[in-house]
């Protein structure tokens, strides 16, 4: 059942989520993500799902955690200030291994900033916004079509690894409107349920996520954000329990980096001039590469975990690397880990809803 629709990225993400099996949404209105909430309110009940408008973002993130434990694939969407408010809840979801998808349609910050203007300044927050040692997955689409396709992937990763996935869009993608093919999901991943005597919070091989019980079925599961052993019992004193838990939660993601990490190369794959980008800045980057030729575009789809070995491999032998960002520079720190700073050129622009133009990238390539 393939449909061709004329959708904004915000609308596309809703249809992608529904086709991925999302049946619960809680959210709080915020620009520029509200259209996601509007369409969810309309569409979810039609597929037997539940929509609720929360009293604030703290409630929204915690409602979807509860719904996920009750067995439904759950999602919220927000932007800047709302994403900040959700951080504690996202940390709880990491600690309790709760599958969720959190869409952040980035706008210019900090604070209220420019609510209607695009930005990419939440990259580091998406990765590191919580206190403590915690690892989750961050995925970034670059078009409305990808908002549809990749959010399905985001749900699959959340379910497979029992982890919250941050779906990092920005205002250009959220409000950009294009033809989107609603093609349905190729494959759907469902969380694994425990058999008898299988602990819900531990596994011998840390790369294998533990199975997840569903509330109300007699597992008598103990879910806690405090340090806990493999059966969920709190241990707020011991070194061993804490260290084993946090290293397992890290290894569960980083140990599966070959399966999770995705990127795509555009332009001339053998070129020694390389643009590294993610999200909405990739289209001007690809356009710039096409115009001038002899340029490769390395476009990151997965922003976390980031495979630095792959990044180094792709950048090895590069004569020049350009990093365009709708922020004062965050992705640039990743590139700097594997490539000399003095050969790197940045294009930073943020605010006012002005995109980075291909001409600006070309200027940096040729500088």
């Amino acid at each position: 059942m393939t449909e061709r629709l004329f959708l904004s990225g915000n609308e596309a993400v809703v249809y992608g989520a529904i086709d991925a099996g999302c049946r619960f949404y809680a959210g709080y209105p915020i620009t520029p993500s509200s259209e996601i909430m509007h369409l969810m309110a309309k569409e979810l009940p039609r597929v037997g799902g539940v929509f609720i408008q929360a009293e604030d973002e703290l409630a929204a993130i915690n409602m979807i955690i509860g719904a996920s434990w009750a067995g439904l694939k759950s999602m919220t969407a927000t932007s800047g200030p709302g994403f900040s408010l959700m951080q504690e809840g996202i940390g709880y979801a990491v600690m309790t291994e709760t599958p969720l998808v959190i869409v952040d349609v980035m706008r210019a910050g900090p604070a209220t900033g420019q609510a209607t203007k695009s930005a990419q300044g939440d990259l580091m927050q998406a990765r590191w916004g919580r206190h403590g040692d915690q690892y989750l997955v961050v995925i970034a689409p670059m078009t409305p079509q990808e908002a549809y396709d990749l959010v399905i992937e985001a749900f699959n990763i959340a379910e497979a690894y029992r982890v919250p996935v941050v779906f990092l869009m920005d205002e250009f993608i959220g409000h950009g409107r294009e033809i989107v093919v609603r093609r349905g999901a190729d494959k759907l991943v469902e969380r694994r349920r425990p058999s008898d005597h299988e602990p819900p919070f531990g596994s011998k091989d840390p790369r294998i996520p533990p199975p997840m019980p569903r509330l109300g079925e007699g597992y008598y599961v103990l879910v806690t954000g405090s340090t806990h052993n493999e059966w969920g019992y709190r241990d707020v004193h011991g070194f061993e329990t804490h260290y084993r838990l946090v290293t397992r939660l890290k290894e569960k993601i980083w140990g599966n980096i070959d399966k999770i990490f995705k990127y795509k190369v555009y332009g001339d794959p053998d070129a020694r001039r390389i643009i590294v980008c993610f999200g909405s800045t990739c289209r001007p980057a690809i356009d710039a590469a096409e115009r001038v030729g002899g340029t490769k575009v390395l476009r990151l789809i997965t922003l976390w975990p980031l495979n630095y070995d792959k990044l180094a491999e792709e950048l090895s032998g590069a004569e020049k690397v350009v990093v365009p960002e709708l922020s004062l520079g965050q992705l640039v720190y990743d590139v700097a880990q594997v490539y000399p700073r003095n050969k790197m050129r940045v294009v930073n622009k943020v605010g006012g809803g002005i995109p980075i133009y291909p001409s600006e990238i070309i200027k940096a390539l040729e500088a």
């Binding site: 049946r23 619960f24 809680a26 009940p45 039609r46 539940v50 609720i52 929360a54 009293e55 604030d56 703290l58 409630a59 929204a60 915690n62 409602m63 979807i64 955690i65 509860g66 719904a67 996920s68 434990w69 009750a70 067995g71 439904l72 759950s74 504690e88 809840g89 709880y92 019980p213 509330l215 109300g216 079925e217 007699g218 597992y219 008598y220 599961v221 103990l222 879910v223 806690t224 954000g225 405090s226 969920g232 019992y233 709190r234």
Partner: protein, 276 residues
């Protein structure tokens, strides 16, 4: 010797509880389990307990033998809301303290009550933040000395039950921990006669370590004092303002059986989709 009726609702492997000697949480647990027993509830398979952070949040997690979610500080109610909406067949009970539910989680309490969300919330009002050494809470009496109010509490306490009675909540009651039988019966009512919508029971039970001991009293002596201090709402209303300050109004503030959020939501959706 016959076994105590409460044991079947407990995870024996984690006993004894972590509570201070003489803590009134034990009395509440007894009342809760007696209510379950009298209602013929054999096991808690279809119950989900949700709690936040604080001493009373430890009652369900890990002591009650049921599914339980021990959530972030203040966030028990939204998590419980998510559980209930995702699977309305489950009985969802929130147990928490005054700091957790009325201070950091106050907004959620208010809005769940406004929605008449189908939850039973039991709030143990121990007057302080007991787990973190007895700092002042929104329920701390005016003038009380705590580590954060060393010169006496300049603020006035919040009457949580009255506030919730002013919302769309179906059932609101307050009992002192010394009023065991009405408390137990109230929990029973909130699970049987009034089994839908938002049900809120405030349990007035001063922290034995950070309130009672600071007053130089034993938990037993305090219970005797509470028996005089806690009066029925009707009696309290007839008192002078000065007398009211010295007493705690207890009883059922509100008891209705309107459709809860779940029913209203389902009806609304069914009507809208049926009209197409």
């Amino acid at each position: 010797m016959a076994e105590h009726f409460g044991l079947k609702y407990l995870r024996r492997e984690v006993l004894p509880t972590a509570f201070c000697p003489g803590c009134y949480n034990g009395i509440l647990m007894n009342a809760l389990f007696q209510a379950f027993m009298e209602l013929g509830i054999e096991d808690l398979k279809r119950f989900v307990f949700v709690s936040g952070i604080g001493c009373s949040s430890w009652i369900p997690s890990p002591f009650i033998r049921a599914d339980s979610l021990h959530t972030l500080h203040g966030r028990a109610i939204p998590v419980a809301t998510g559980v209930k909406l995702a699977n309305p067949e489950l009985n969802v009970i929130v147990i928490g303290g005054d700091g957790d539910l009325a201070s950091i989680g106050g907004n959620h309490l208010l809005h769940a009550a406004r929605r008449n969300m189908d939850l039973l919330v039991i709030m143990i009002n121990n007057q302080v933040y007991g787990m973190t050494r007895g700092q002042a809470a929104p329920t701390t009496p005016h003038g009380m000395i705590t580590p954060t109010t060393p010169y006496g509490n300049p603020e006035r306490p919040m009457d949580v039950a009255s506030i919730i009675a002013g919302t769309n909540a179906n059932y609101v009651a307050r009992w002192c921990i010394s009023q065991y039988i009405p408390l137990k019966n109230s929990i029973k009512d909130a699970l049987s006669r009034y089994s839908r919508g938002f049900r809120f029971i405030e349990v007035y039970a001063p922290c034995v370590t950070y309130v009672v001991r600071r007053e130089g009293k034993t938990p037993g002596e305090k219970l005797k004092e509470l028996m005089k201090k806690c009066v029925r709402i009707e009696t309290w209303r007839r008192m002078s303002p000065e007398e009211r300050e010295k007493h705690v109004a207890t009883g059922v503030f509100k008891a209705e059986d309107k459709p809860g959020f779940i029913e209203t939501y389902k009806k609304y959706i069914a009507q809208a989709l049926g009209e197409k």
